[in-house]
């Protein structure tokens, strides 16, 4: 299958995106903000279709909208980013706007499926360079905030007392997530970003409880699922995103089964 340029491009693009998604997603899962990540991708859909309407490229519409939305969510932090209902309403509104933009820019409609479900087989050289640069920026941002981010995620009250700028950290993190979501949507589409950003890290957290080992396993699983999905798609002719979604779900449930007893294992002996 490596005889085809488009397959090689797809493998390279998928690798970049999978590693970024696996690493950023690890913290998304740790902070319990997976739904916020999902919402960001839907907002990105409105951005991408809106960009088409005014003649910009879909990727930059996606990046611009997710980034702006991530920063706004971070600034509203306490009030909105952890509230499922508020996020759900904004998510639905964003999808609605995406539909409206499509309605007025019908030439774009053929790309709607690619946006929603990804189209990794159409990735070109130029896009790979863009994804690589975006990915490097995303990971550099994550590296800068990682230490206070972990502290603020695990123990917000103590982190605040120790002088961690909580709102800045939360906002910077959602900006990082926004970039990762925009990249991830290029491969698996806005509707399926969970497959790379949540599935692998959630599975990794079942398999190991160390921080670095968790990050490594998460990135490795995302990479394996993305490449595995591409290979399966090549031989079966099923859509790539479906194959990745399938592997992601299978891996997560296998990890749950491996780690023993499903989602809850705590035995609160000291409860009053």
């Amino acid at each position: 299958m490596f005889a085809y340029d488009f397959m090689i491009n797809a493998f390279v693009a998928a690798a970049i995106v999978a590693v970024v998604s696996g690493l950023v997603g690890f913290f998304l899962v740790m902070r319990g903000q997976t739904f916020a990540g999902h919402a960001l991708s839907h907002i990105g859909f409105a951005g991408a279709t809106g960009a088409g309407l005014i003649g910009l490229s879909a990727l930059w519409g996606l990046v611009g909208f997710t980034l702006a939305a991530g920063i706004v969510m971070g600034l509203l932090s306490e009030r909105i980013s952890n509230r499922d209902v508020a996020i759900g309403v904004v998510l639905a509104l964003a999808l609605g706007f995406g539909l409206l933009f499509l309605h007025y820019y019908t030439a774009f409609a053929s790309q709607a499926t690619a946006l929603l479900f990804g189209n990794v087989l159409a990735v070109e050289r130029g896009m790979i360079v863009t994804l690589g640069v975006l990915g490097a920026v995303t990971l550099a941002g994550l590296a800068v905030i990682m230490r206070p981010l972990i502290f603020a995620s695990l123990q917000p009250e103590l982190a605040e007392a120790r002088g961690v700028p909580m709102r800045l950290v939360a906002t910077a993190f959602l900006a990082v997530v926004a970039l990762a979501v925009a990249e991830c949507a290029q491969i698996v589409g806005v509707l399926l970003v969970f497959t790379l950003m949540v599935g692998p890290p959630a599975a990794a957290q079942r398999l190991t409880s160390g921080l670095w080992s968790g990050l490594i396993v998460s990135a490795a699983l995302a990479l394996a699922e993305a490449w595995g999905g591409l290979a399966i798609a090549f031989y079966t002719d099923w859509p790539v995103s479906f194959c990745i979604a399938l592997l992601s779900a299978a891996t997560y449930f296998a990890a749950l089964a491996l780690s023993g007893l499903g989602p809850r294992v705590a035995l609160p002996d000291g409860e009053a």
């Binding site: 230490r147 972990i150 009250e157 103590l158 120790r162 409880s209 921080l211 035995l267 002996d269």
Partner: protein, 273 residues
């Protein structure tokens, strides 16, 4: 000797509400002080003020002779509202490690010395095995010991423990108090230990600090836990009964501290397992 914590005519406000008004007292270094009083009396606010998170609106507050600084390494803190995500698969070592230099930018890393320090601190509270166990697999008592170890890491001179006994059963409460008492005595650490119920702390504390009605009373149990003092602090007529080595603080025939405990659970401290 410079007091560990000294308030002089201090007024503490939170969200426009005056919690403590014109309060003065001094806590001596090395003292184990039980902090008591009804809900909303200002136990948490006092600790946050000592941490430099809410400066006094009037008067002065000094910690070891200096104005409180946010992020003061000399203070170990165990907050009351402990947001522990229920399904967190982070092992104890990384959990504590995250709090070391947690305010600095960059990648997290632990030196061999820091790992040893964490292991030794866990050992000192009898919880060495928690270093490798994920948080989600720890019981309430184990989590509490982990948090206590975390508060002790970095050799603090002052320990602020905000309701560390919540969510523990009677046996674990006793163990927790003994551990704090022993470790802090050995290292000469000053302790402010807030609790709902006085009886848990009898025999462990040097003095008690009662807060209520914007006021504070610090002194030996026999001086402070009396009908006149507590009636003033609770703003209602209080009876103090002593029986069988226990002290009961009653208002119109009801145990006020027992009631306070029930009330706090309404705020849900993540005990829905």
């Amino acid at each position: 000797m410079t007091p560990a914590v000294e308030l002089e005519r201090a007024t503490l406000r939170i969200g426009g509400r005056t919690v403590l008004s014109d309060v003065s007292f001094a806590i001596r270094p090395g003292e184990f002080v039980g902090v008591l009083g009804p809900n909303g009396a200002g136990k948490t606010t006092l600790m946050r003020a000592i941490l430099g998170l809410c400066p006094p609106a009037a008067g002065s507050l000094r910690v070891f002779g200096q104005a409180p600084r946010r992020g003061d390494a000399a203070i170990g803190y165990l907050p009351q509202v402990r947001t522990v995500l229920p399904d967190l698969r982070v092992r104890g070592l990384d959990f504590i490690g995250a709090s070391l230099h947690g305010h600095r930018w960059g990648l997290p890393s632990l030196t061999a010395g820091e790992r040893r320090m964490i292991a030794e601190t866990l050992e000192s509270v009898g919880a060495r095995e928690l270093a490798d166990r994920p948080l989600s697999a720890m019981s309430g008592g184990e989590r509490q010991r982990l948090l206590l170890a975390q508060a002790l890491v970095g050799q603090p001179k002052l320990l602020l423990l905000d309701e560390p006994l919540i969510m523990l059963d009677a046996r674990h409460q006793e163990v927790a108090i003994d551990v704090v008492r022993k470790v802090c005595r050995e290292r000469g650490i000053t302790v402010l230990f807030s609790a709902h119920e006085l009886n848990q702390l009898l025999g462990a504390v040097d003095r008690v600090l009662y807060l209520g009605h914007g006021q504070a009373a610090l002194g030996a149990i026999d001086e402070v836990v009396t009908a006149p003092v507590l009636s003033r602090l609770y703003g209602t007529e209080i009876e103090v009964l002593r029986a069988g080595g226990h002290i009961f603080v009653m208002s119109r025939g009801r145990d006020v501290e027992g009631g306070a405990h029930m009330h706090d659970h309404e705020h849900g401290h993540g005990h829905g397992h």
